[in-house]
């Protein structure tokens, strides 16, 4: 079908223009900025070559943050993924009150990370929080049974204040939020699974595990790819929870790259340095973005 050569442009001009100004240009501008010493305020700045990156790779906080991001990814691609898939499988058949059960799991997903962060900051609070108060009573109960525990010790656990616990505590809150999302995607994926194959497998006497392993799971592969990519991207982007709950502390023990970058750029006015951190974060994400794109391209060619 022929059309006026400028017709596409008339539709694309506005959306594309806005997109280029606010998304495409900034992406490249950050890459350029990473090679400068701009402080965000003064008009004067200099090209400094790789200085920001050299400094970054020698910075202990960078490695701590990167390590925490990787831990976050490692937890996120295992626990919420396995839980979400298991829940989807369990709820994909006739279960009474299945709507209630589904809502229970995906309700946290609707909440803002700030809301989640504040709620969990309270849950983890040493003296007034939910966790320690519950432990206090459990310890008391154990003590009454003759165990040698001190209930008061429960109120000394600093879930967010102890450098050994802070990161894990934040990731736990994030997991609470993420499971429902994985479940929804797998539930949608399960609707597309070919049931004839499952019936045939059942007739052939395959065990439930075999049915899952060899029929259901392979058919869910496209969903799994997407869940994996989005989960990883989310773990790399993670900012709100950390910023609200600990600001990366104590002693950077719960710092992540996004928070590190925000603090360097907007609190310490090291924009060039912040840009370098963003570029590293971007480079780590690129592989996953490419994996997603690859799937989209494949779909196009079908």
């Amino acid at each position: 079908m022929r059309h006026h050569p400028l017709a596409p442009l008339s539709f694309l001009l506005l959306p594309l223009g806005l997109y280029v100004v606010w998304v495409i240009y900034p992406t490249f501008a950050t890459m350029a900025m990473a090679f400068t010493d701009w402080d965000g305020i003064s008009a004067q700045w200099n090209w400094v070559g790789l200085a920001n990156f050299e400094r970054l790779f020698a910075d202990r906080v960078f490695w701590l943050s990167l390590g925490n991001n990787l831990r976050w990814v490692a937890v996120f691609v295992t626990i919420p993924l396995a839980m979400g898939l298991a829940l989807a499988l369990a709820l994909n058949r006739n279960v009474r009150f299945d709507r209630f059960l589904k809502i229970a799991y995906y309700l946290p997903m609707v909440l803002a990370f700030v809301v989640i962060g504040l709620m969990w900051a309270w849950i983890y609070h040493p003296r007034q929080g939910l966790v320690n108060n519950t432990l206090f009573h459990l310890y008391g109960f154990a003590q009454s049974l003759g165990f040698d525990v001190n209930p008061l010790a429960a109120r000394r656990i600093g879930w967010l204040g102890d450098p050994n616990l802070a990161m894990g505590s934040i990731i736990a809150a994030a997991t609470w939020q993420h499971v429902g999302y994985v479940m929804i995607l797998y539930l949608a994926g399960l609707k597309t699974v070919n049931t004839e194959l499952l019936d045939a497998g059942q007739v052939d006497g395959a065990s439930p595990w075999q049915l899952f392993r060899y029929i259901t799971f392979p058919q869910l592969a496209p969903v799994t790819t997407i869940v994996l990519v989005i989960t990883v991207i989310q773990s790399l982007r993670a900012f709100d929870l950390v910023y609200v709950m600990t600001r990366g502390g104590p002693f950077n023990s719960s710092n992540v790259l996004a928070n590190f970058m925000y603090i360097e750029a907007f609190m310490n006015y090291n924009m060039g340095y912040g840009a370098a951190i963003a570029v590293v974060l971007f480079l780590i994400s690129v592989g996953f973005i490419a994996a997603y794109l690859y799937r989209v391209v494949q779909e196009e060619e079908r």
């Binding site: 079908m1 504040l118 990519v229 994400s285 391209v297």
Partner: protein, 270 residues
């Protein structure tokens, strides 16, 4: 076996709801009561005073209004613009069609950090820093990626003959877009709008980057102010958090089907 699975699923569901339920109970109590007797004590009195305080003194009323002022135009903007770009990508064959599509898809997965500094700088230069317009423009622009991706794939399921018959009737492209394109993607609009509402409404990072005046802050950024203002008054802080969550919860419960449709539309086809 089946029964065991159900027990675990139920136990998990209750565990998942527990933090929200416990937060609600705490929000109805006073700080002194909880400090003196602990969370698991029987409440001495129950009131909505914390909500009133958060709403009024904590300025959650103002913050919530700001959230709506930012969110609603952003959604209208992104849907209008991405329906145009999606239409162009589906309707016309031109050289960079595929390339543009892939660019939109890649863009929606970018880590925000790679955009933050130039977006901050740009809004400063355009004189938009510390205005709602800066946030509206940015949200609209950024979400064009995801919305175009979803709408384009949705529109592609429309048979080409529908468009062609309109062309034969002599309708111009903008008429075809309005009369045929838009009505066809209306169902996708509902899903996208619901999903985007929660995303934009819940944004915190961009409010932090693009706003500085307290009176302009959306409720997410406002909550952190509230936390500083009422240090350690957890019942009040928790009340504020729950108030902040009300709009997204209402939207979610009212439009649940669309919300889930929107989420899965982006991820799976059909």
């Amino acid at each position: 076996m089946r029964r065991l699975v159900l027990i675990v699923v139920w136990a998990g569901a209750l565990l998942w709801l527990f933090p929200i339920g416990a937060a609600f109970v705490t929000s109805l109590r006073t700080q002194t009561d909880i400090s003196a007797h602990g969370f698991w004590s029987v409440p001495r009195e129950v009131s909505f005073a914390n909500y009133a305080a958060a709403w009024d003194r904590g300025r959650v009323n103002r913050y919530l209004l700001n959230s709506f002022i930012i969110t609603i135009p952003s959604i209208v903007g992104m849907l209008a613009l991405s329906s145009m770009s999606a239409y162009a990508l589906v309707r016309f064959r031109f050289r960079f069609n595929r390339g543009l599509y892939f660019m939109f898809v890649a863009g929606m997965l970018l880590p925000f950090q790679i955009l933050m500094l130039p977006v901050f700088q740009l809004s400063n230069r355009l004189g938009l820093y510390d205005t709602h317009l800066a946030l509206i423009l940015f949200h609209t622009a950024f979400q064009i990626g995801f919305c175009t991706f979803v709408l384009r794939n949705f529109m592609r399921t429309v048979p080409v003959s529908l468009f062609e018959s309109a062309v034969i009737d002599g309708a111009g492209e903008w008429t075809i877009y309005r009369r045929i394109g838009l009505p066809l993607i209306l169902p996708a609009f509902a899903a996208l709008a619901t999903l985007e509402f929660t995303w934009v409404f819940n944004d915190y990072l961009w409010a932090l980057v693009l706003l500085s005046s307290d009176s302009l802050k959306p409720v997410t950024a406002g909550l952190s102010t509230l936390m500083g203002q009422f240090v350690n008054d957890w019942p009040l802080i928790v009340s504020g958090s729950l108030l902040a969550a009300v709009p997204t919860l209402v939207v979610f419960f009212a439009l649940q089907r669309y919300f889930i449709e929107g989420l899965t539309m982006g991820a799976t086809k059909g």
